[in-house]
Amino acid sequence: MPPYKMWEIMERANSGPFCEDEAFIMDVFMPKMRQVIAKYGIAYDPANPVPADDALADAVWQAGVEFFGDVGVLNVDTHRIMRFDAAEIKEALYHVPGEYRVGYGKDARLFRQRAVEDAAPPFCIFSPDITCDEELFLPSCLAYLQEPLADGVCASILEESMGLKIKAGTPTELAGVIEHAMSLRQAAKLVGRPGLFLVAVGTAESDTGQIAVSNEEWGVRTSDSRLVGALTELKIDNELLNKAVHYQQFGCFTGSLTGPIYGGYAGRAEGTAVLQVAYHLMGLLVHQAHYQMNFPFHLHYTSNSGREMLWIVSISHQAVARNSRLLSVANGFLNAGPGTKMLLFEAAAHALTATVSGAHLWEAAPAHNKHKNYATPLEARLAGEVGHAAARQRLTRAQANDIVCQLLARYEPMIAHAPMGKPFPECYDVRTARPTAEYLALYREVKEEIAGLGLKFPY
């Protein structure tokens, strides 16, 4: 995107139409969502969590574009709506390059847009997406960074630094974010992948925390990436804009991080899918992001591996892949915890759904993304392998739908009471950063079972 747009965004954040928070949701967001769902005839089909309907995908795209154009994005600090007309949306989409070279040196990778049923494997970002104990941070980073399919890594989130509980916006956060950035960089060097694409740092909730780690020597580099989120739904504030502007000026890759809530203001599956498309446009136009990181989640379960959630993942990514060159990443949020078969089946279902729908992978957040230390690289490994297998054998959406339905049959009834599993230190040898024989055997057993459903793993 041309840099002048950044100034345009700053101006619009202060001078758009006035609107209060409640009115934005009740009188702008909700009525427009009902209208576009009816106008474009969007309907969820539980029989096909991976729909193979191009017309439906295009309808979701059109609905998302119209919705975003009419609703806009509310800045809750200034109470101003930032709106973009059709020409501006087209202009922004026209300028999307569709690929970036990320990371540096021998570890650099091409991160490019994927098509629906693309034969190119997804770009795989491995991430635990959860907090961990301070003493486990480095071993956890080493374990994730050692994964050969990882094209990028995002580390755990620290809750403590030097024994102090980290609190956002305070000096403890500044201590924690630097510990996070330095430990991750150190781990990347230790495993011999010093230039790997890193998305960091999740420990920094505040803009100050993010700005503090921009450092080519020990921190986040311009070849790395940072995330900037949104407030529920289609809202931002000045602190988020501060992050977006800093990332542009520092020169790193920006990921727009959004998780539309199924059961929230967007309502059912149809609205959640339309909102996810709209978030891609918010990411492009407001955050001026290089890629969109999506974690739609269920209001009750905080996961996206259920049937209706997989449909949302599939149709929204198909909509984006078929109608733009936007880079889009699907973030698996899973119900079960590490060391369980259910988690591995869920990871496979999410990765397969996303891959054939044109998405890249960001795997994975186990145990409802809620419990400290409950994530390991092994479930992410299986997800990455499923993504590579599905792309390499050019699996169609219809074929994927069949496999996903068989995977759902294995875990769907347990979603409400998913097994918690075990934390990282019980699934991995912390000293060597390798999985235990027990978890490795379970992973192999599940992989074999999935292969029996029709996936041809390269190895």
Binding site: I25, M26, M30, M33, R34, V76, T131, I157, E159, K165, I166, K167, A168, G169, E173, G176, T203, E205, S206, L231, T232, E233, D237, E239, I261, G263, G264, Y265, G267, R268, L299, H300, T302, N369, K370, H371, K372
Partner: protein, 219 residues
Amino acid sequence: MSLIAQIAHFVQEGQENSAVQATRQALAAGCDLHALIDGLTTAMRQVGDRFERMEIFLPEMLLAARAMQAVMKLVEPEMARQAIKWEAKGTVVIGTVAGDLHEIGKDIVITMLRAQGFVVHDLGADVNALDFIRKAEEVGADVIGASALMTTTMPAQREIVELLKAKGLREKYHVILGGAPVTRQWVEQAGADSWGENAAQAVSLLEKVVERRRAHAAL
């Protein structure tokens, strides 16, 4: 269908204009206000239950709550005129803690609490710990509710408890925590009183808590 049943139905369906029109008719006909309030409370409890079972979704629940508010705007002056006293189930001061701007979970709880007859003071997001306590003191609250969606903002929940202790007010309020990363263990660590895994659970728990506290105070 009686007028009261019609009003309850319109509220449940989020049909604000029809609910208001039917309420005007009911008031003009001199309907029993206690029966009307009971009917509305039952209707909104059913809305909350259907929301928890995901038979309806947040937009429908919000429209029902808006219709209920519109009806109450007509009913309250009539209650005052007839000198009918309505006792709130309890008073709750609630907000999202400092550094955190996520509000949807808190807002769902507020909608359900109000629907069940609680008076709720919503402090919004990014609220300083001391402001929770000041507001609770100002309005004579029974409960302080603090929401946090980020692990790095959860310490601000504990800060509320610590400030209550420092001010010698800890026993005066029931402190309930909420938010996606909040667990029972964290509630214990933070020194709070309870935790609602979801909105319905929080509302039902607070109903019991306030009832217990008031019974105890009456002894």
